[in-house]
């Protein structure tokens, strides 16, 4: 059972999309799991043949439980259990293997990560984290416990809720019988309550605001849209995300996680996108490696995520922990969004509505499309000077769309 969010401790298997004997490939959708928030498609992390389905549909199991076992395609015991819960070299698998080839059994991640601390290995097992997907931040790239926790989306505080009463109590909602809409809404409300209470309890927020002139960016979008098909057309939100990714690259102190009393910068800008659902509640799917996407690709990702989130078909990989989250309430017409940080991240960027307002340009009063950007940042990790640099970088990026809207040079 993969962890599909910082606050997820268990999930209900709704449906198997494969059966024993089916060949599967890395990335295939193999099952649908109900988190307390939505139904999520679970992808397979390995190539092979489904050997056994270990969990019956309708069963609620803790994160980290083995859902299924996959035999490697060539019959060698190099496989790992299905989904994102790889207990390396599961015993039943090794026993079923015809050829006695002991060495490969421990090389489920050959070519993947290098050294892994014993504690990190144990935690990965417990949290159901695929070590191949974990980025090591120790000396010489060693994967340590905090890297596994970051990959699982559980900071130390999430793993062990803070002793101050409220977050701990709301973090453990009573089990809900059935999955009717009202119960689901209540469940989601409780999840949000726990996470936001934790954020406001633990994180000393500071907020900085800047109003940005979008005149050039909107002009640029208008010109681009002429050449794009209807389904590809850009909306200002995509440009704001693209500029946010670029500013996060420039000011990496805001892009990452607060883990065990220290800031751990993220390698990529994985932008969380707060989506409000029509039935109430929120989801935060992620645009992974947003810094490597140009504005057209960003737009495509936003469109895809929004569509699937609203139809309740997000995948596990859509819900990996972001390194920085964006809240855009522009379509609700509000002027500014002073947000609450999604722990263990250290910042949240809030955009208000883009609206035409009077604006002084070159000593003259004109009318410009403006957006108010509010940065909520964790004062443990950064101070106002860094937050200001971020907003200035964002401002610069939006004033220079020609360079911003392209893919970042790597």
């Amino acid at each position: 059972m993969p962890s599909l969010g910082a606050d997820m401790t268990e999930g209900t298997l709704l449906e198997w999309l494969v059966k024993p004997g089916d060949p599967v490939h890395r990335g295939d959708v193999v099952a649908v799991v109900d988190t307390s928030k939505s139904a999520v498609e679970v992808e397979c992390f390995d190539d092979g043949v489904v050997e056994a389905l270990d969990v019956e549909p309708g069963t609620k199991v803790p994160v980290g439980t083995v859902l299924a076992t996959i035999a490697p395609p060539d019959g060698h015991p190099a496989g790992s259990p299905a989904s994102s819960a790889p207990t390396p070299a599961a015993t039943p698998l090794a026993a079923a293997a015809p050829a006695p080839a002991p060495a490969p059994a421990h090389r489920a991640h050959a070519g993947g990560p290098g050294r892994i601390s014993p504690l990190a290995r144990r935690l990965a097992d417990e949290l159901g984290v695929d070590l191949a997907s974990v980025h090591g931040t120790g000396l010489h790239g060693v994967i340590r416990a905090e890297d596994v926790r970051a990959a699982a989306g559980t900071g130390p505080a999430a793993a062990a809720p803070s002793p101050s009463g409220p977050p701990a109590t709301v973090a453990a909602p009573p089990p809900v019988a059935g999955h009717d809409a009202a119960a689901r809404a209540l469940d989601m409300r409780r999840s949000i309550a726990a996470l936001m209470t934790r954020s406001n309890t633990e994180i000393p927020h500071y907020h900085l605001t800047l109003t940005v002139d979008l005149h050039r960016t909107l002009e640029w979008i208008r010109e681009r849209n002429v050449a794009l098909s209807l389904s590809e057309r850009l909306v200002p939100a995509a440009a704001l995300l693209r500029a946010t990714a670029s500013a996060a690259r420039e000011v990496p102190e805001l892009n990452g996680h607060w883990v065990e009393g220290a800031f751990v910068p993220a390698e990529h800008v994985d932008l969380g996108l707060i989506l409000s659902l029509r039935g109430g509640g929120l989801l935060v799917p992620v645009i992974r490696e947003a810094e490597s996407l140009d504005v057209v690709a960003t737009m495509a990702r936003v469109r895809d995520l929004t569509r699937r989130a609203r139809s309740g078909r997000l995948r596990g990989s859509d819900l990996t922990p972001p390194s920085l989250t964006v809240s855009n309430l522009g379509d609700q017409g509000v002027e500014s969004v002073a947000g609450v940080i999604y722990p263990p991240q250290v910042a949240l960027v809030g955009f208000g509505a883009v609206s035409e307002r009077p604006w002084a340009v070159d000593g003259m009063l004109g009318v410009r499309p403006l957006v108010t950007v509010t940065l909520a940042a964790d004062h443990r990790a950064t101070d106002g000077a860094i937050g200001s640099r971020f907003l200035k970088a964002l401002d610069r990026a939006l004033r220079d769309p020609d360079s911003t809207m392209q893919q970042e040079e790597q």
Partner: protein, 339 residues
């Protein structure tokens, strides 16, 4: 008539030194039990090579504070005989290097007689000796050979690092029915501190956490404890919260305290002035690897004496001994602080 109001919880204290705390422990033991006596080279008229017993001969007489010939084997053997005969001798050996001359008595007699007599004999002997370098006394007076004794079943081996332990360990050592070896690090004798007039009893069983912290466990004993505590302060300034465990007892090792700490911090740095190979730090590291491997988030680090006969020149001696910077560097490696 005036009334003086006093805080009933306030305890009378005084400033003293590690050396004076040891002397007070001897005085206390000799007053409490007339079977207790001290013998060794220059302990009576000269007051002890490190002045621990200064004044005791005058106070207790030459029957109970006895100078011996320069023969470690002979006077340690005499101590064993006295213990077998019902007395409670304290034998002072000038340095651990010289104690090797008495190793036959200690290993083949003191540590084994209970077993070889089927439990009929016991040797309630306390042997004190100075250990360690840092005082430019060169390679025949400066080594840290605690591991030699910590290797021997039948002995209890103590390494008092604090004034409390200097003051408190002697009495439980004398009460022990089997031989106890006490190592006093030469750099500690002049350390000053405050002790209560009526000191609390201490045990000779447990390690002690001298500083709590969550990021890394620094393990030391004896003369390395002040250095390890100083390193913890340096680390704190870098935002690394170090826990300091003082082993206190090198045999039998209190591994539970070490493992409990490492179970919380997931990283360990073991500091010992003895040579790295086959030493106290090697033993502690092995216990951690055996019992707490899956708690470790980084390899165990050892900071030990360099494997050379300890040099005389100060700069070379400093380079051969574990220093605060070495401990800091090892702890930073353990937590992955490469900034």
């Amino acid at each position: 008539m005036t009334t003086t109001l006093r805080d009933p919880t306030a305890r009378a204290t005084r400033t003293t030194t590690y050396r004076e705390a040891l002397r007070e422990a001897h005085r206390d033991a000799m007053r409490r039990d007339d079977r207790v006596f001290l013998m060794g080279e220059d302990v009576a008229r000269y007051g002890g090579c490190f002045a621990v017993s200064l004044g005791l001969a005058e106070e207790f007489g030459e029957e109970r504070v006895r100078d011996t010939p320069l023969s470690e084997s002979a006077f340690t053997g005499a101590g064993i005989g006295a213990a077998l005969g019902g007395l409670r001798p304290i034998v002072e050996i000038m340095t651990v290097n010289f104690s090797l001359l008495a190793l036959d008595q200690i290993l083949n007699n003191a540590a084994t007689l209970r077993h070889m007599s089927g439990g009929q004999l016991s040797v309630p002997l306390v042997i004190r000796m100075t250990t360690g370098g840092g005082r430019q006394l060169a390679a025949q007076h400066s080594h840290s050979l605690e591991s030699y004794y910590a290797h021997i079943p039948g002995l209890t081996v103590l390494s008092p690092a604090t004034l409390e332990d200097a003051r408190g360990m002697l009495w439980p050592a004398l009460e022990d029915p089997d031989p106890v070896v006490v190592f006093e690090h030469g750099s500690l004798y002049n350390v000053e501190g405050v002790l209560p007039e009526e000191p609390d009893p201490v045990d000779i069983v447990h390690a002690a956490v001298r500083r709590t912290g969550g990021d890394v466990t620094l393990v030391g004993h004896g003369g390395t404890v002040p250095k390890v505590l100083a390193a913890a302060e340096v680390l704190a300034a870098r935002g690394i919260d170090a826990e300091v465990v003082d082993l206190r007892v090198l045999r039998p090792l209190d591994e539970a305290t070490v493992l409990e700490s490492v179970g919380r911090t997931h990283r360990a740095v073991v500091v010992d002035e003895g040579w790295r190979s086959v030493g106290v730090a090697a033993e502690v590291s092995a216990r951690i690897a055996e019992r707490a491997l899956y708690e470790l988030d980084a390899p165990v680090e050892r900071v030990c004496g360099v494997e050379v006969p300890l040099p005389y020149p100060k700069h070379l001696e400093d380079a051969a001994l574990p220093q605060v910077d070495d401990v800091v560097a090892a702890a930073r490696r353990a937590v992955g602080d490469d900034a």
